[in-house]
Amino acid sequence: MGEQFVLLISASIFCVGTAGFVIRKNPLIMFMSVELMLNSVNFLLVSYSSFLNSLDGQIFALMIMTVAAAEVVVGLAIILTIFRTRHDMDVDHIDVLKG
């Protein structure tokens, strides 16, 4: 399948992820939307690495996966700590920086 289709699919997934990050209030689903955005970029890198016959894109996608895994772990720990102190899961209510 051509490059146009790959670009369209990847841009669609990225924009769906952006929409989810903007419209949802649950921090877990906001995190999942960030994962969607990272995954769309990964897909674009892998497909273009195949089009251009060079492995650099796949290495870059591997690094993005590493960073995403670390980011998810730290983010979920922060969400857990916030829930432990506040018992509230709405990001609109978390508006002060002191515990």
Partner: protein
């Protein structure tokens, strides 16, 4: 991955089209479900679709990594957190902000697509032989020769993340509070 195409008697392009559209639909399911547990299940489906797409674009090693790391580890972590916090339903209201967000996002989609299609792509000549493109051996050769610094930095990043998470989870805010008051 010509085997998939020949077994089901599809063309390569048709398989890519179907899997790609399924991935987009699953991502829509992630953001439109009101309960986080359904969102997580849709996200697992989306990850598996992306792994299939990686396979169809000759990236076998990354497809396996995608299944193990994302659909395995990361999503299990999400499901554990949802089980711990209780998947409460979110009240959705149709406000002006919501429709504005959708308008913004669809404008962004159009602009991304236009800007991506207008610009020319420079063709580079790779030196990887076709039969081992995307295999674990090719990725390993590339990773440990050309990208060794990035590899070591990634290991440092993972170590820092692990230590940080242990600090966040183990020492809760009790010692901090005692010091303040």
């Amino acid at each position: 991955m010509l085997e998939i195409a020949t077994v089901f008697d599809f063309t390569h392009d048709a398989v890519i089209f179907v899997v790609g559209v399924t991935a987009v639909l699953a991502s829509l399911g992630v953001i439109l479900c009101s309960s986080p547990i359904y969102s997580a299940l849709y996200l697992i489906g989306h990850m598996i679709c992306l792994a299939l797409l990686f396979l169809l674009y000759n990236a076998e090693f990354l497809a396996v990594v995608q299944i193990i790391v994302y659909a395995g580890a990361v999503m299990i972590l999400f499901l554990f957190i949802i089980a711990l916090l209780g998947g409460k339903k979110e009240i959705q209201e149709n406000s002006l902000h919501r429709s504005m967000a959708f308008a913004f996002v669809f404008t962004l989609l159009g602009e991304l697509y236009l800007s991506a299609t207008v610009g020319p792509t420079k063709q580079v000549q790779g030196e990887i032989p076709a039969e081992m493109f995307g295999s674990a051996k090719a990725i390993g050769l590339e990773l440990f020769s050309k990208h060794i610094v990035a590899f070591e930095l990634a290991s440092c990043l993972l170590l820092v993340a692990a230590v940080g998470v242990i600090c966040l989870a183990k020492f809760s805010f009790a010692p901090l509070r005692r010091r303040v008051r």
